[in-house]
């Protein structure tokens, strides 16, 4: 078996005296959706910001494709192949879908923008991801629905050859059918061999899409394992108290064997 795409070992992060993260050991395998759940203030955002290079960890070590790495800036993480889709999506409403997807990576021909190549690239990526609700990829992003915007943001990440896509609350602002569209898209990313980390408050969504679940509680990783080992009730217990009597197998609350570390 190949090693995990991303390995976190003993990751900690302090903000002055406040310990936001403490000794996180977590493996992110390729081709799997890992859901990161936890109550407000559990450290989910801090953890993904550490992975995506916004903050350097105070302790611990990241290993990317088996090699130790230090991401000093978001650019480092992006160059390595980590794309983060934040809740605000970072799209320009006044630009069209193609322009947004290729922003910062425009194709050129004789010094001028090569719209034909860019439109073909964007169209190919969208059709690979089966994003079919968008009729015209030259419409401005401001005119799209929430789910379509999310899809554009994800497609933008995928187009840059991301190996790991991190999504922060991708369904928080969406209606039911739009949520279905985005969850479907997340599943398709994983089937393409891309590792996906999803932060979500919505456990219905989590159980629908996640292959693995990692529960954070007060800055510590209290449980990680295959999604099938959890049910919503045990997940809520873990999120709110850090332990769960309902989890049958005892080592789930410690570390599971597939997390790669000795408990």
């Amino acid at each position: 078996m190949d090693g995990p795409l991303l390995q976190l070992r003993g990751i900690g992060k302090n903000f002055g005296p406040v310990q936001a993260l403490d000794g996180i050991d977590l493996d992110i395998p390729a081709g799997k959706v890992t859901a990161l759940v936890g109550d407000n203030g559990a450290g989910k955002s801090t953890l993904i910001k550490t992975i995506s290079g916004i903050w350097e960890p105070s302790h611990g070590q990241l290993a990317w494709q088996g090699k130790p790495v230090h991401f000093r800036s978001p650019r480092d993480a992006t160059d390595a192949g980590i794309a983060t889709v934040y809740q605000d999506l970072a799209l320009c409403d006044n630009l069209d879908i193609v322009e947004n997807m290729l922003l910062g990576h425009e194709a050129r021909r004789h010094l001028l923008l090569d719209e034909v190549t860019m439109e073909k690239t964007a169209r190919q990526t969208l059709s690979d991801l089966r994003v079919t609700t968008v009729r015209n990829i030259r419409q401005v992003v401001g005119s799209l629905s929430g789910g379509q915007r999310q899809a554009v943001a994800v497609a933008k990440a995928v187009m840059l050859d991301a190996k790991l896509v991190i999504m922060d609350e991708p369904t928080a602002a969406l209606g039911v059918s739009q949520t279905a569209l985005v969850l479907d898209l997340i599943g398709r990313l994983a089937r393409r061999g891309i590792a996906v980390i999803v932060i979500s408050h919505n456990l219905t969504d989590v159980f629908q899409v996640a292959d693995r679940i990692a529960v954070l509680y007060l800055g510590r990783l209290v449980s990680v394992g295959p999604a099938a080992d959890y049910d919503p009730a045990s997940a809520v217990d873990l999120m709110t108290t850090g332990t769960s009597a309902r989890i049958q197998s005892a080592d789930l609350t410690a570390r599971t064997p597939d997390s790669g570390a000795e408990g």
Binding site: S177, T204, P232
Partner: protein, 443 residues
């Protein structure tokens, strides 16, 4: 997303069955929003339908300002038969030219959501530098280059202060406005005998000819035909490349219509320019040089904004600076470059303005100039909040402002009336902009 979504909380009891009708509704809504964008047009009729749909959904483009311009022109022609005479229309071109270029200067920074209040005095100071050098017997092109270098450097300085110290451009350029109005007096004083009485005369026939000279009638036709042919070839080549690559291109009939419209506009302008506007004894014909200068600047800047990375990044920063930054765009550098281009274009304006006046004086009202230019850009359809607008807006808006000033002058109305009418048109333009934008948000 108008529909309120039932919050599917962490309760295990939440099932999807009771939300099914809701989901159905959402899917149709999504389909409708996708379809409201343009479908593929295969005929002129279809294209017009899509066009109407876009106007109704708030993508009105240049239509309101063109309609407004036509209404104003008809109004003045009814009031005074002189208005549409060749002489007056050529006058109008020379009067509007420097407003148009200063409007283009502002559009660089307006697209970023910034403003340059100092641009009027930047133009005046640039003109002083140019005319001073000309008076010292430097060749005209040295004078022009020095003027442009100085104004571009000044613009870059403003941009640097704004981005580095993260100060609002309104305040920094307001300080620039005050400082440069002082610098204008200082510069003219420093010229000594050249600027006696606060006026420097323009001693260069070539600069003078920008506004004062004209192409020959034959040359006007040649230039017009070459320009229209170039535009046509480029449009066809672009469409063909899209079709070859399997992308949607506008139908040939639409492209032909567009080219015809450009050709008609060109023919009208040349016909006006070539009509004798002189006296019985001295014929004056031909297109003023300034029309070519403005067109050249317009084409270069439109290409820069629409077809280069730099232009794309200006729109991106104006739309969402944070998204631009995360896409790896060096936001500060683009902003400084935009302010430098604003300064450079103000320098071009200074040259045209001094050519129009035949001199430059300490009495130049740089404040009025810059506010007219911003008004022109906004009337043309450029947003004050950044991200929306194009260089053509300055031409259309500048023509509106120029037509009002020219027409009211023709009717013998004093400055009081001119200013108040311009104010009304400005408010009307912003209202149209706000209403169409509201339409877009609710559609």
């Amino acid at each position: 997303m108008a529909s309120p979504d039932p919050e599917t909380g962490p309760e295990p009891g939440a099932t999807t069955t009771d939300t099914a009708p809701q989901a159905q509704e959402d899917i149709t809504a999504a389909a409708a929003s996708g379809a409201s964008a343009e479908l593929l047009a295969n005929s002129v009729g279809e294209y017009l339908q899509i066009w109407l749909k876009r106007i109704r959904s708030g993508e009105s483009g240049a239509l309101p300002v063109i309609i407004g311009l036509v209404v104003i022109v008809i109004f003045f022609q009814i009031k005074s038969s002189l208005f549409l005479s060749a002489g007056n229309l050529v006058n109008l071109m020379t009067q509007a030219a420097f407003l148009v270029t200063l409007g283009m200067a502002e559009i660089f920074v307006l697209l970023l959501g910034e403003i340059d209040l100092a641009a009027g005095f930047t133009a005046a100071c640039g003109a002083v530098i140019a005319l001073w050098l000309v008076a010292l017997n430097y060749p005209w092109w040295v004078a022009v280059l020095a003027c442009l270098a100085a104004t571009a450097a000044y613009g870059a300085l403003q941009g640097f202060i704004i981005t580095w110290l993260r100060l609002p451009s309104f305040v920094v350029t307001l300080a620039g406005y005050l400082g440069l109005s002082g610098a204008l007096l200082f510069l003219i004083d420093s010229t000594g005998k050249i600027g006696v009485g606060g006026v420097i005369r323009l001693n260069s026939n070539i600069i003078n000819d920008i506004e004062g000279g004209a192409l020959s009638a034959a040359a006007s036709w040649v230039v017009m035909i070459v320009l229209v042919a170039l535009a046509a070839v480029m449009m066809f080549l672009r469409d063909r490349r899209r079709r070859v690559n399997g992308l949607v291109a506008p139908p040939v009939s639409i492209t032909l219509l567009k080219i015809a419209a450009i050709a008609v506009a060109g023919v009208v302008v040349v016909l006006v320019g070539n009509t004798n506007r002189g006296t019985l004894f001295l014929a004056v014909r031909g297109l003023p040089w300034v029309v070519l200068v403005v067109l050249a600047v317009l084409v270069i800047y439109t290409t820069l904004l629409g077809r280069t990375r730099f232009g794309r990044y200006i729109y991106a920063i104006g739309g969402n600076a944070e998204a631009a930054r995360r896409a790896g765009i060096n936001v500060s550098r683009i902003k400084i470059a935009a302010f430098a281009l604003c300064g450079l274009t103000a320098g071009i304006t200074g040259i045209i303005y001094s050519s129009y006046l035949g001199s430059i004086s300490s009495g130049v009202n740089g404040g009025q100039l810059v506010l007219d230019a911003v008004a022109a850009a906004v009337i043309g359809g450029t947003s004050l909040f950044g991200g929306r607008g194009k260089m053509l807006d300055a031409l259309l808006g500048g023509l509106v402002v120029g037509v009002i000033a020219n027409g009211l002058q023709l009717l013998g109305l004093a400055a009081a009336g001119q200013l108040m009418w311009t104010a009304l048109v400005l408010v009307a333009a912003v209202t149209v902009d706000a209403l169409t934008r509201r339409g877009r948000n609710t559609s």
